[in-house]
Amino acid sequence: MAAGFKTVEPLEYYRRFLKENCHPDGRELGEFRTTTVNIGSISTADGSALVKLGNTTVICGIKAEFAAPPTDAPDKGYVVPNVDLPPLCSLRFRSGPPREEAQVASQFIADVIENSQIIQKEDLCISPGKLSWVLYCDIICLDYDGNILDACTFALLAALENVQLPEVTINEETGLAEVNLKKKSYLNIRTHPVATSFAVFDDTLLIVDPTGEEEHLATGTLTVVMDEEGKLCCLHKPGGSGLTGAKLQDCMSRAVTRHKEVKKMMDEVIKSMKPK
C-alpha cells in the first residue's frame, strides 16, 4: 500500500514524513547517514580512499607523475581532479562522454582544491622550471544515492592524507631525475575542507544529506564547504528556491557540526595508518 502511494505520489509521500521531521528511513532531518571510510585499499595507486555515505559509494585514487611545471608558475605543481559517474552507479547515466553532472562535480572539486589551498602547489615542485609532480585525482562513483559532492570531497581529502611521494633528486651530471622508492614522505595537508549538502523542499524546509530520490524531488540544493577555522571555501547553490540570510545561518551552524564529526573520523583513520 505504501509502495503504491510512493510510486504514484512521491512528493506527497515525502511530505508526510517531513511533517513529522524525519526521513522515510527513520533519520532525523539534521542527521547524516552512516559514514564509513577506508584508506589505502588500492595498492597500485599512490593514495586511495573509499567513502560510503549511506548507500552512496565513492572511491578516490591518486597517481603521482612527473611533468614540466607551468610556464607562468615555474615553482608550482599540478593537482588534476576528475569525477567519473559511470553507468554502473545509476540508471540515469549512460555510457559515453562525461555528462553534465560529472563535469559539474569535477569543476566543484577543482574549485574546492583551489579555494581551500588544501595543499600548497609549491610543495609539489621538485626543481623549479624543470620538474614537478602532478597528482591525478580520479574520483569514481560506484553507487549513486544522492549527496555525491560530500562523498567526493571526503574521499579526496582521505586519499590525499594517504598519498606518499618518493624522494626525487636531480642528478647534476646527467640532468635526469633519480627516484628513491625506499624514502617516502606524506603530503603536507594544510586544511581539511568538509562539504555539507542540503536539499530545499517546497521553498521552506531544509534537509541534510539528501538521498537520490530526495534530490530528485527537491526544489533546490545547497552545498557548503567549510574548513576547520570556520572559513567557507565554497558556497555552491546552483539555483533552486530562494533562501533568506537566516536560513543560510542555520546551514552554516550545521556545517560546523558536520566538520567536527568528519574531522574526528579522519583523525582516527590517520592514527590507524601512520605507524608503518
Binding site: 569543476q107 574548513d227 546552483p238 539555483g239 540570510g245 543560510l248 545561518q249
Partner: protein, 235 residues
C-alpha cells in the same frame, strides 16, 4: 512596418547610477541594456556592465526532443559560449548555475512538453562575467515574453585581504581579491537564488556580502524597470 517597430524598440537606455571612477563606497559600474536586437530568436538582449558585455538570445517555448521532454514542465536549456576557444568544463558548470536559476523563476508548468533555450555569447570579459550573463539572460527572457514569477539579477562581490567589499569588480580587482562571490537574487523577496564563490571567507563576511548584494540589486531592478518602461512607452 515590422522593421520600423523593431527600430523603435532598439532604444539604448542608460542606467541611473554614476559612471565615474569607483569610490570607496560600494557602487556598481555603468550599465546599459539593449533589447530585441536579433531578428531570429524570440527574444534577445545585450547587457553591458562597465566593459563586460554579454549577448543573450531566447528561443521558446518551442518543440522539444522526446528524450528531453518533461510531461508537466518546460525543459530549460542554457548554452554559454566563451569569447575564445571551445566551451569546456567551466562553461558547463556555469550553464548549470544559470539554468537552475532560470528554472526557479520561469513558470514552466504553463508550457509543458516544450523547450526554452537561452543562448549566451560572451562578447567581452572585464570582470563580473557570470553576473552579467545572468542579467542578460533575464532581460532576454523578458523580451521573449516567457512567463516568470519574478525577475532575477546577478551581483558580484569581491572581498579584499583587508576585509573591504567591492561590488561589481573589474578583472584586475577580481584577481587581487581574496574571495569573489557571485550571487543571484530574485526581485520579489530578494532571496538568494544562486551562489558560487571563489576563495576563503568567513560566515560574517558572507552575510555582509548578501546584505550589500541585496542593496545593489535594488539598483539593477530599478534599471530593468526603467529600461522596459522606456521601451514600451514609445511603441
Amino acid at each position: 512596418v515590422e522593421g520600423a517597430m523593431q527600430a523603435d524598440a532598439k532604444i539604448r537606455t542608460e542606467s541611473a547610477t554614476e559612471s565615474g571612477p569607483r569610490g570607496p563606497s560600494c557602487s556598481l559600474r555603468h550599465f546599459a541594456c539593449e533589447q530585441n536586437l536579433l531578428s531570429r530568436p524570440d527574444g534577445s538582449a545585450s547587457f553591458l556592465q562597465g566593459d563586460t558585455s554579454v549577448l543573450a538570445g531566447v528561443y521558446g517555448p518551442a518543440e522539444v526532443k522526446v528524450s528531453k521532454e518533461i510531461f508537466n514542465k518546460a525543459t530549460l536549456e542554457v548554452i554559454l559560449r566563451p569569447k575564445i576557444g571551445l566551451p569546456g568544463v567551466a562553461e558547463k558548470s556555469r550553464e548549470r548555475l544559470i539554468r537552475n536559476t532560470c528554472e526557479a523563476v520561469v513558470l514552466g508548468t504553463l508550457h509543458p512538453r516544450t523547450s526554452i533555450t537561452v543562448v549566451l555569447q560572451v562578447v567581452s570579459d572585464a570582470g563580473s562575467l557570470l553576473a552579467c550573463c545572468l542579467n542578460a539572460a533575464c532581460m532576454a527572457l523578458v523580451d521573449a515574453g516567457v512567463p516568470m514569477r519574478a525577475l532575477f539579477c546577478g551581483v558580484t562581490c569581491a572581498l579584499n585581504a583587508d576585509g573591504t567589499l567591492v561590488l561589481d569588480p573589474t578583472a584586475k580587482q577580481e584577481k587581487e581579491a581574496r574571495a569573489v562571490l557571485t550571487l543571484a537574487l530574485d526581485s520579489v523577496e530578494r532571496k538568494l537564488l544562486m551562489s558560487t564563490t571563489k576563495g576563503l571567507y568567513s560566515d560574517a563576511e558572507l552575510q555582509q556580502c548578501l546584505a550589500a548584494a541585496q542593496a545593489a540589486s535594488q539598483h539593477v531592478f530599478r534599471f530593468y524597470r526603467e529600461s522596459l518602461q522606456r521601451r514600451y512607452s514609445k511603441s
